[in-house]
Symmetry: C2
Subunit: 200 residues, 2 copies
């Protein structure tokens, strides 16, 4: 086949295809969509990409995302937060999800991933060392990693390390999602919901 | 809730969320992915976006995508193509899919969409007028719009317009996909495959 797309288009399709969850077909569809959009809109996306990369950094305390030049992230610099309580999450998005619940008033620690030996992600690839270094005034660590295999393994690993250092460790509760129909719950979740039942 | 992400991150999430098929959750996930990638990689994507937008344009003959500054696209400028045969497709990606089949030696015409009155896409929003203006040396037009409701409506509309101008019009064949198991074919496709059966 001799006919192919111009280089500028092939390059864009290749770069879009590097994004997670975007396969070759989606990358092609996105590239054509952008080709058909006004130039201002494409430039706005390109600028947003560069600005996000150059204007953001990780909080030196909890590794949450923050604007470059600030001393600490919005949570760490809030004097009303309970500083003896630290909630460990995998990603900044998880932090925001917990904030939305309105149920948590402590600080956070963002691991930026979960342990996954299969993918070469060991403890040294996560922000576990800095977590161990900020335990001086910490009373309790809440492990809010995902309930996936990796998230569970990470929680187990951290629980052991933290307990050795004399810190109280808790794990977020398993159970039925609120508003969920019992018959649609998977059996593992349902089993956990029953064994973790609470007196009324 | 007082905690939110820095503006540079919110802007990136908003711009990514404008892309088709990318909802708020995916946009957030992509933004964090990019935040964690090396700056060169993010800049490469931003540059690819701007280069594709500024370096590409539509072929003045068939409206396929081509590098800006060229006189016609790779197909239109190829002297070996059969110029009396024009295949109408919705998108440049469809053109490439047909090229990959190796079964077609004519020219193309890219509509950049399909008729969809519900979404305000009438004949004036597509490249139908320029198609009618390039019929002088054209013997046959192959309608290769999608087999969706919009694609079928577009094919019907074009067939009528083209036949009034005395051009032979054909539609790509419906039938079973090659390598497809009969029991997995939907009944409409199977019905078409039977009524369009060919002597062996």
């Amino acid at each position: 086949m001799s006919v192919r797309f111009p280089n500028a288009l092939m390059t864009l399709i290749r770069e879009l295809g590097r994004l997670p969850g975007i396969g070759p077909k989606s990358a092609q569809r996105l590239a054509f969509h952008l080709f058909n959009r006004p130039e201002e809109e494409v430039r706005a996306l390109a600028e947003a990409l560069v600005n996000a990369k150059t204007g953001l950094t990780r909080c030196p305390v909890c590794f949450n995302v923050m604007s470059r030049g600030e001393e600490a992230c919005a949570v760490c610099s809030d004097p009303r937060r309970e500083r003896a309580l630290v909630c460990v999450v995998e990603q900044p998005a998880d932090l925001l999800a917990i904030e939305r619940s309105g149920e948590y008033q402590g600080l956070y620690h963002v691991l930026h991933g979960a342990l996954s030996p299969m993918n070469g992600i060991g403890p040294d690839k996560l922000t576990i060392d800095p977590l161990m270094e900020r335990l001086a005034d910490v009373r309790e660590v809440v492990l809010a990693t995902s309930t996936t295999v990796e998230g569970e393994a990470t929680a187990m690993y951290l629980a052991k390390q933290l307990q050795e250092r004399g810190v109280t460790v808790s794990r977020i509760a398993y159970g039925l999602p609120v508003g969920g129909d019992l018959e649609y719950a998977d059996e593992v979740t349902l089993g956990r919901a029953i064994s973790n039942r609470r007196p009324m």
